[in-house]
Every structure is written in structure tokens, then in C-alpha cells.
């Protein structure tokens, strides 16, 4: 109870709550960026999200990304150095 979720789980939970994904995958790729710019040593700096939801079908690329940014919220976005998004409708 009250255990702090790791960021991978937090991202997945927020996206699952905001959308009705047909596919949702959240990958922590921080280990690929160790020692690079943006590696804060937390092991939770770089993420990749694969998200499929029909709601995105008629949205522009920028609108898709903005919808995901909004679903994650400014606080979480500010804690992540890099978020690669693969979004399909």
C-alpha cells in the first residue's frame, strides 16, 4: 500500500486511464542512454511509448503527441528527459 510506482508503471497507468488503447507498450530505454546528455542517474530518464487507439486516426501528428503529453500531465513530463512516441490510430 502506498508504494511509489516506478515511472514505467505511472506512464502506463495514465495512458490506460486517458485512452482506450488497442495496444499499449511502455519501454524504459534509459540504459541505452547512460552517460549521455539527459542521463540523470535515476535509470528513469528515457522512455518509449507505443500506443494504438482509434481516437488518433483523424488527428495530426502534433495533435497526437499533444494528447499524450496532456494525459501524462506537466509534472510527469517534467521528470522525463526523453519520451519517444509511436502513436497510431
Amino acid at each position: 500500500m502506498g508504494r511509489k510506482m516506478n515511472k514505467t508503471d505511472e506512464i502506463r497507468a495514465k495512458l490506460a486511464g486517458a485512452f482506450n488503447p488497442r495496444a499499449l507498450e511502455v519501454l524504459n530505454e534509459s540504459h541505452q542512454h547512460q552517460g549521455h546528455a539527459g542521463d540523470d542517474g535515476s535509470g528513469e530518464s528515457h522512455f518509449r511509448v507505443r500506443l494504438e487507439d482509434p481516437v488518433f486516426a483523424d488527428m495530426s501528428r502534433v495533435a497526437r503527441h499533444r494528447a499524450v503529453h496532456a494525459a501524462l500531465g506537466a509534472d510527469l513530463m517534467a521528470q522525463i528527459h526523453a519520451l519517444a512516441l509511436e502513436i497510431s490510430g
Binding site: H33, H36, A37, G38, R61, V62, H65, R66, H69, A74, M77, A78, A82, L83, A84, L85, E86
Partner: protein, 120 residues
């Protein structure tokens, strides 16, 4: 608008293609900025580069200006186009070629095709 946003507005309207990035087009300081600058350089696109690491007000201002939380950010004819993922996708799909053609931005179609062949 704040001074920073006014400055950004003037920059993106005064230059056909502008890349807000970490570092410069000749010395990028982040892999994502490097990738987008590399695509534009390879395609022979003339663009203005703005190093957000050199100016904290611009670094924060650009995120509010476009309502976009990350760097790099590409602008064509004053319009925000996208960040690293979007530019990569548009390069591979040919949408970036179309965008440049519609806006009379000179680029090398051959170079764009080479990028697509290398990533096919």
C-alpha cells in the same frame, strides 16, 4: 507576450526554416537535436539554428510558445512542425518533402531518398 516569446515570434517569422535545438547545427549537444539537424544538413536545407542552452529564457519560452514540452522544435514559415519523432517519421514517409515543396524551401530530393533507402 514576454520578451522571449516576442523574440521567438520574430525569429520564426524572419526565417523560412528554424530549428530550436540543444547546441548548434555544427555542434549539437543532444542526440535528438543532432538527429534533426543532421537530416536538415544532409538534405541541404538552409536553416537558422537557435541554441536553447545559451539562453534560459528562450529555452523555457519556446516550450510555451508552441505548447510543446521538448527540444528540438522545427518551424517552417512560422509554423511549428514537430520534434524529433515527428520529423523522423515525416522524413521517412516523404511528408517532409511535401512540406518543403509547399513552402518553397529548397532541399535535395536525392538526399531525402537516400535517407529513406538507408532506413527501408
Amino acid at each position: 507576450m514576454t520578451d522571449a516569446k516576442t523574440q521567438i515570434d520574430e525569429t520564426v517569422k524572419a526565417n523560412d526554416v528554424v530549428l530550436y535545438m540543444k547546441g548548434t547545427k555544427d555542434a549539437p549537444q543532444c542526440g535528438f537535436s543532432s538527429r534533426v539537424a543532421g537530416v536538415l544538413n544532409f538534405m541541404g536545407v538552409e536553416f537558422a539554428d537557435v541554441n536553447v542552452l545559451a539562453d534560459e529564457a528562450i529555452r523555457n519560452g519556446i516550450k510555451e510558445y508552441s505548447d510543446w514540452p521538448t527540444i528540438p522544435q522545427l518551424y517552417v514559415k512560422g509554423e511549428f512542425v514537430g520534434g524529433c519523432d515527428i520529423i523522423t517519421e515525416m522524413t521517412l514517409s516523404g511528408e517532409l518533402d511535401t512540406l518543403f515543396e509547399e513552402n518553397n524551401v529548397t532541399y535535395s530530393k536525392d538526399a531525402a531518398e537516400k535517407i529513406r533507402e538507408a532506413n527501408a
